[in-house]
Structures are given as structure tokens and as C-alpha cells.
């Protein structure tokens, strides 16, 4: 190729990598950060619950578990996912164990939320010093972790749970939807 024509290569050389970068960038959701906990044993935790009892994550052993991080101020996301959680436990309460963890919230605020949007049958750990949310790498409520029967974290979902996500995760856990 003559040197003069060679300069036309500059155009695809500059444009194509930029195009690739921009379009692959579009496919990503910057708020969806992969958790390093996936594939590892779930971090153990224990603490006082909203009802005044004590809860330890050892109680979850043997069955799949769902750990849901939430707060009473997280509107509308936590409000949107609350019926989904209630439905999940109503239908599969025997196959899995659900536990809630408060993030940066007060017991009164949490009780007010439950009184307004629906009381729950599962324990809610207070997490007053935020050590549990740090252990799980929580960036902000709502976040939900799906753990299998052996105690290995299968997935983390950031944002409100939807029936579609729940169905997908139930399938991964081997539970009939």
C-alpha cells in the first residue's frame, strides 16, 4: 500500500475501539457490583432481633436461606419488595429460611414500617453497629443474598426483589416455584 493511502487506516483504528467501548459500556449497570462472596460460605452473624430475641446464622444451616437487607426509610424500593417477600415465605416457608437485617435503621422505624406494610414471621436482626452489612459488602438497601442448603452464597441481588428474580433464584436453589 502506498504511504499516502495508509493514513486512511487511522479512521477505523480510532473509531472502532471507541465504538466497542461505548456499546459494551451500555450493557453494564454500574450499580450492579458483583459480590466477592458469591461461591463462598456465607459470613456468620448473630445479634438481637426486633422482637427482642437473639438470632444466630447457625440456625440457618441445613436449608436454603434468603438474607434480606432493608431499612424503613428505603422508599419506594423496600415498600415495593415487601409483598414479594411475604409471598415468598407464604409459599415456600417450609423449603427455605428467611432472615431480615436492618441497615442503619432504628427499631422504632422498622416496627413502624412493618406495622404499615405488613407484619412478618421471620426474624429481623438489628445490626446496630453495621458490622453485618460490612461483612456482606452491602452498599445500600435493599439487597438480598440467596444461600444454598450447604451455606454457600449463590447470588446477590441489588435493588427490590421482583417475582421474576425470585423465580430465577428459587430454580437455582432447586426449589419448585
Amino acid at each position: 500500500m502506498r504511504p499516502a493511502r495508509l493514513r486512511w487506516l487511522l479512521v477505523p483504528l480510532v473509531v472502532l475501539p471507541l465504538a466497542w467501548l461505548l456499546f459494551t459500556g451500555l450493557g453494564r449497570d454500574p450499580r450492579l457490583i458483583p459480590s466477592p462472596l458469591v461461591g463462598k460460605p456465607m459470613p456468620a452473624f448473630a445479634g438481637a432481633t426486633l422482637d427482642g430475641d437473639r438470632f444466630s446464622s447457625t440456625e440457618l444451616a441445613g436449608k436454603p436461606a434468603v438474607v434480606n437487607f432493608w431499612g424503613s426509610y428505603c422508599i419506594p424500593s423496600c415498600v415495593d419488595e415487601h409483598p414479594v417477600l411475604l409471598d415468598l415465605v407464604a409459599r415456600h416457608g417450609d423449603d427455605l429460611r428467611m432472615v431480615g437485617v436492618l441497615v442503619n435503621d432504628t427499631p422504632d422505624g422498622a416496627r413502624g414500617f412493618l406495622a404499615r406494610y405488613g407484619q412478618v414471621s421471620w426474624p429481623n436482626v438489628l445490626n446496630a453497629d453495621a458490622s453485618i452489612s460490612i461483612d456482606y459488602g452491602v452498599t445500600g438497601p435493599p439487597e438480598t443474598f440467596f444461600v444454598d442448603a450447604r451455606g454457600i452464597v449463590l447470588a446477590r441481588h441489588v435493588g427490590p426483589l421482583t417475582p421474576a428474580v425470585v423465580a430465577e433464584q428459587l430454580a437455582a436453589l432447586g426449589i419448585e416455584p
Binding site: 487511522l10 480510532v14 473509531v15 471507541l18 467501548l21 461505548l22 426509610y73
Partner: protein
């Protein structure tokens, strides 16, 4: 009814700009002035239609018309009128509408101004501008319709984002920035026209000079206003976090500044012409990249608008624009050969060229850092992050080199400098720089950064002062004027040069202020009960009481104020608050800033206990912060001075200059 009219205006505007593009292209090809005139009128109409659409949106916001989805999401019945109006640009669809208004406004202005001149260039300028504006109308007509309706119609809206209704600067920063962004289409359009018509001589540069500096002034002011707003509102005591959208505004500013310098060389010496064209293309493409980053949800940021399909449209526009513009540049490369032998290694040309290299280096570094997370995820799937420490570390040396160059460039002659010249020009400035560093050390400054920048700034200022005094002295001698009068007369007759000097003075002021405020500040955090005090430096802050009440201007917002008494170099009653907005999960801090010439006292309320009335406050003493804003103002005013028309220039002078 009104939203429907708004939508109709958008659709007709799209038709008008598409027609204008086609007519300009046809007229440029055939030389038919009538067709070109009709295209121009279509562009004026498009501006009118964009204005109508904006008016429709503003009316919908003021009347709280919640049948419009945008209004329902960004407005509430309690929103004060000022914030209702400026909600026009508070979120995605509205900001595109506002952008379109400004873009079509610029286009109409430049087409009107040159309606009887430059007949060879203007059709192509018009075509480029029409295509650009048509794109934004198209985005509003399809994926980003601001007037889309919602049913059922709610009784109350969401209200504006809490952070965006906390401070009146929300009415200043986006318009300034957008005026800068949209105005950069003008030099780009002229650049394209010059390449297409092969009129790549100095003519387009002479025309484009003002049309680049005006948007540049807006962009500078917009960026500085954004930093000031962030400082006053966000409560962390800083003003620049290398957030992706902050970077998006900086990138075109960097290449535009390089373009302004490069075009000076191209206009006067006929060299660096390829650089100049490449830089004007880069500036425009980067304004599109900027809006892409802000609107596509590709990067996470304070400004992140909601994700939407608009991202793909913008990505396509960027790729297409770059491909066409770059192709045009490569095609006409032989036309852009240097008209003169290059300058010597030590000459003003080389300094300018090195200036280009450095600006591009910063642009690359900032672009790299901003896009790196995307790159990593696309190639490895992992998630990386790039924050302020990386940007500061990589960019600081380059900025220091650029500061050095602002002193060296103007003192070197064109063509080449002899050793005696160098000796004469730089000896005293170097001594001055060293002297200032020693003086600062003696005064107690020990950090390397402020010392270095102070010395460098002194060097630059003395070089410029020397140039000014030397010129004034020779004029004063020959005309018998006192030297100060000679300075003023010289300045008004050489606005470009002296405007440039003043702009560099502003940069020095900003550099010193940034270096000092970043390293020599101090802060303390403490939890106080009413009556207790906190001391920081020469200040004592006494916490008086905690007051909780709704805001007078918007009763839905509950404000909890810590009222404090300040004693020290600045004194008085101050209050810092946390505001609880109904649509925000966290309370929004409203810091208080007391500004004095030498330093800012900055107090944020971090937390409070409603029962014990204890308040956790963080106090900063930030030195020289006001000089960052003042320096930015100097730069903007200097550029304004540079482009101010000089009535003295006669037509004969102009004609002689062109020959």
C-alpha cells in the same frame, strides 16, 4: 393541551431541521442561494419551535400538570416557582429539551450573523449545525419524549431531587455549562466547512476565534460554578471529586483550550493546522461523549440520570460523527501542510506544540480514568474503580508542566530564540520564583505542593509582568506617556495578547489557591451538647441549640438546624442544618460557609440526637478557597476582554491583514 402542543413543536422542529440539512447540502453543492436562504429560515423556525416546546414544559411545571410523566417525577405542588422553572433541566428529558433550545439558538445566531457573508462556507456550516440539531429533536421525538403522559394522573408529584432544590446555583451551573457545550458546535461546523470546501486557510480561523471563545467562557464559568455549588451543597468540604460527569465537562474544556492556543499558531504562522482541525473535532465529539456519560447510565455519578434507551442513540451519534469528521480530516490532510518552516526547538511554536501535547496528555488521562471501569468490565468481567487519588496523582505533574509553559510560551519569540534572549527573559523570573519559595518556607509552609506552585506562579507572573512593563516603557518613551497609561493603551489596542496575559494570571491564582486549599486546610469532628464548644485554629464554635421546623419556602421539608456562635477572625451567629425531604431516604446536609479573603470556615451537621439534643458537627478551615472562584472569574473576564470588539480597527487594516 399544552403538553400536546409541546410535543407537536418538537416533531415539527425535527422536520424543519431535517429539511434545513437537506437544503443546505443541496445549496452548498449547487450554489443556489435561494435554497440556502430557505434552509436558514427553517433553522430560525426550529429555534422558535424549540422555544415553544420549552415554554410548554415550563408552564406544565409551574401549573404542576401531573399528567406529564416528567412533571410527575420532578415536581410537586409544594415546589417553589423558582425551582419549578429550573426543573426544566433537572432530569434527563427536560435537559435534552433545554439543550436543543440552546443548540438551535446558537445555530440561528451564527447563520443570521453570516447571512450575507462567506457564501462558500456557510451552506456547509449550516448543514453541520442542522444535522446536529436534528439529532436532538429526533431523540426527543422517539426515545426521550419529555411530554409523554402518565395515567392515572396522581394528585401529587415526586418533587425535584432533594440535592437539586437545595441551592439557587441549580439555576446557574447547568445553563452556563450547556451554553458552553452547545456553543462548541459552531467552531466544529466551521471546521467541517473549511475541510469540505478546501478553504483551510486562515479565514475560517479568524471567523471562528470569537465563536470559540464565547462558548469557552461559558464552559469555564459553568465548570467553576459547578465546583462552587458542589462545595456549598454537598457537605464534604471539597469541590472536585473527579466524578465521571465532572470529568465529562472538563474533557471538552481541555481540548477547546488547546484548540484556542493551537489556532493562534495556525492563524499567525500557518503551522499546526492539522492539530487545530483535529482539536476542534475532538472538542465537539467530547461534548457528545459528555452527554453520553451523563445520560446513558454507563457510569455511576452524582448526576446519573435514569438509564434509558437514549444511551444507544448517543453512542451511535458519537461513532458516526467521529467517523465522518475524522474521514474528512484524513481526506484533506494534504491541504493542511505547514505553510512555513517549523520553528526552532526553543521557540514559541515549539512551546505551543508542547502545550498541545500536554493538554492532550491530561485529556487522555482523564478519559482513560473515566472509561477504565468500562474497559475492565468489558475485558475481564471484574469491577474496578478509579477515584480521586488516581486522577490527582496522574494529572498533577502534567498540570505543573502546563503552568510552567504558561510562563515560558509568551516570553519566547516566534521562529527561534537565541541564548542571550533566553538569558535575558528568564533570569529574573527564575530568581523571583526561588525567592518566593524561600519566603514561603520562612513563613512556615512546609508542604512540597504549595511551595512548588507558589514558586512557579511567581515565575509566570514575573515573566508576564516583564513583558508588559517592557512594552509599556518603550511606548511611554516614544509617546511621552506615563507608564501606567501606556499599559492601558497597549492593552486596549492588543486585546488578544493582554487578554491572554490576564487569563494566565487567573490560572496562576487558581493554581495557588487549589494547591494551598488542598494541603494547608484543617478539620475537626466532634459531638457536642448544647453549650459545649469546639476549637479549630483561631476559631471557637459554640453549639447553642437544635431547632426542628418545616421550611418556610416548602413546608414538606423538615429542617433540623444546629445554631452556633462563631468566635475568631470571623464571628457571628451561624446555623448548619440537615434537611429531610419526603422523596429522599437520607437527610440532605446544608453546610454553612463563611468566606473571608484568606480562608473559609465551613461547618456541616453530620448527625443529631433528637432526645439529647447532641449534635455531631464537622468544622473545616479551608484557606484561599474564594480565590479559586475569583481566579475562574478572572479567566472568564479576561477572555471576554480579549474578544471585545475594537472599534479602532478600520476596514483597510482588516483588508491588509487578510492579504
Amino acid at each position: 393541551m399544552i403538553p400536546t402542543l409541546g410535543h407537536l413543536a418538537v416533531v415539527i422542529g425535527l422536520a424543519a431541521t431535517v429539511y434545513a440539512a437537506g437544503a443546505f447540502l443541496h445549496g452548498g453543492h449547487t450554489g443556489d442561494a435561494g435554497v440556502v436562504a430557505s434552509a436558514r429560515r427553517a433553522m430560525y423556525a426550529a429555534f422558535g419551535l424549540a422555544a415553544l416546546a420549552c415554554l410548554a414544559m415550563v408552564v406544565s411545571l409551574l401549573t404542576h400538570d401531573f399528567s406529564v410523566l416528567y412533571v410527575a417525577r420532578n415536581n410537586a405542588t409544594t415546589t417553589p416557582p423558582f425551582y419549578s422553572v429550573i426543573s426544566l433541566w433537572a432530569a434527563l428529558e427536560g435537559s435534552i429539551l433545554f439543550w436543543t433550545l440552546l443548540a438551535s439558538g446558537w445555530a440561528s445566531l451564527v447563520l443570521y450573523r453570516y447571512r450575507a457573508r462567506l457564501p462558500a462556507l456557510m451552506p456547509w456550516v449550516g448543514a453541520t449545525l442542522a444535522l446536529g440539531t436534528a439529532f436532538f429533536f429526533a431523540v426527543m421525538a422517539w426515545p426521550g419524549d419529555p411530554f409523554v403522559r402518565v395515567t392515572p394522573i396522581g394528585l401529587e408529584g415526586n418533587g425535584p431531587n432533594a440535592l437539586l432544590q437545595n441551592h439557587p446555583f441549580m439555576g446557574l451551573h447547568p445553563p452556563l455549562l450547556y451554553l458552553g457545550y452547545t456553543g462548541m458546535a459552531i467552531p466544529f461546523a466551521f471546521g467541517m466547512a473549511a475541510l469540505i470546501t478546501r478553504r483551510t486557510d486562515e479565514e475560517w480561523l479568524a471567523v471562528v476565534r470569537r465563536w470559540t471563545l464565547v462558548p469557552w467562557i461559558f464552559l469555564t464559568a459553568g465548570i467553576v460554578a459547578g465546583a462552587w455549588w458542589s462545595y456549598a451543597v454537598l457537605g464534604w468540604g471539597g469541590y472536585w471529586a473527579w466524578d465521571p460527569v465532572e470529568n465529562a465537562a472538563l474533557l471538552p474544556w481541555l481540548t477547546a483550550t488547546a484548540f484556542i492556543h493551537s489556532s493562534m499558531v495556525a492563524e499567525r504562522r500557518g503551522t499546526l493546522r492539522t492539530w487545530t482541525h483535529a482539536l476542534v473535532i475532538a472538542t465537539f465529539v467530547l461534548t457528545l461523549v459528555g452527554t453520553f456519560l451523563t445520560r446513558s447510565g454507563v457510569v455511576n455519578s452524582v448526576h446519573a440520570f435514569t438509564t434509558s434507551g437514549i444511551g444507544a442513540w448517543f453512542a451511535s451519534a458519537i461513532v458516526l460523527t467521529l467517523a465522518v469528521a475524522l474521514g474528512l480530516l484524513v481526506w484533506r490532510l494534504p491541504d493542511l501542510r505547514d505553510r512555513r518552516p517549523p520553528g526552532a526547538v526553543v521557540s514559541r511554536e515549539s512551546a505551543f506544540l508542547f502545550n498541545n501535547v500536554l493538554f492532550l496528555a491530561v485529556t487522555f488521562a482523564v478519559l482513560f480514568g473515566t472509561l477504565y471501569p468500562i474497559l475492565v468490565e468489558a475485558t475481564t468481567g471484574a469491577r474496578a474503580s478509579v477515584g480521586a487519588p488516581w486522577f490527582n496523582r496522574v494529572n498533577a505533574p502534567i498540570f505543573v508542566a502546563l503552568l510552567f509553559l504558561t510562563g515560558v510560551g509568551p516570553a519566547l519569540p516566534w521562529g527561534g530564540a537565541s541564548w542571550p534572549t533566553v538569558r535575558e527573559r528568564f533570569a529574573i523570573p527564575i530568581l523571583a520564583g526561588v525567592g518566593v519559595v524561600i519566603a514561603a518556607w520562612a513563613l512556615g509552609v512546609r508542604d512540597a505542593a504549595p511551595l512548588g506552585i507558589l514558586g512557579l506562579a511567581a515565575f509566570v507572573l514575573v515573566v508576564m509582568g516583564d513583558e508588559v512593563i517592557r512594552g509599556a516603557r518603550s511606548r511611554a518613551r516614544s509617546r511621552g506617556e506615563p507608564v501606567p497609561v501606556a499599559v492601558v493603551r497597549l492593552a486596549t489596542r492588543n486585546r488578544r495578547r493582554y487578554g491572554g496575559y490576564l487569563a494566565h494570571v487567573g490560572i496562576c491564582v487558581m493554581a495557588v489557591a487549589i494547591a494551598v486549599s488542598a494541603t494547608l486546610g484543617s478539620d475537626r469532628t466532634a459531638t457536642l451538647r448544647p453549650g459545649e464548644s469546639l476549637a479549630l485554629g483561631a476559631y471557637t464554635i459554640t453549639y447553642d441549640r437544635l431547632v426542628t421546623e418545616p421550611l418556610a419556602s416548602d413546608p414538606r421539608v423538615i429542617e433540623t438546624r444546629a445554631e452556633l456562635t462563631l468566635a475568631g477572625p470571623q464571628s457571628g451567629e451561624i446555623a448548619t442544618a440537615l434537611r429531610d425531604y419526603p422523596n429522599s431516604s437520607t437527610a440532605i446536609a446544608t453546610p454553612v460557609v463563611r468566606t473571608a479573603i484568606g480562608e473559609d470556615l465551613y461547618v456541616t451537621l453530620l448527625a443529631f440526637n433528637p432526645t439529647t439534643k447532641a449534635a455531631t458537627i464537622r468544622v473545616f478551615v479551608n484557606p484561599l478557597v474564594m480565590w479559586i472562584w475569583a481566579g475562574g472569574a478572572i479567566v472568564a473576564l479576561a477572555a471576554l476582554f480579549a474578544i471585545w470588539p475594537d472599534r479602532r480597527r478600520t476596514a483597510v487594516e482588516a483588508a491588509l491583514a487578510a492579504a
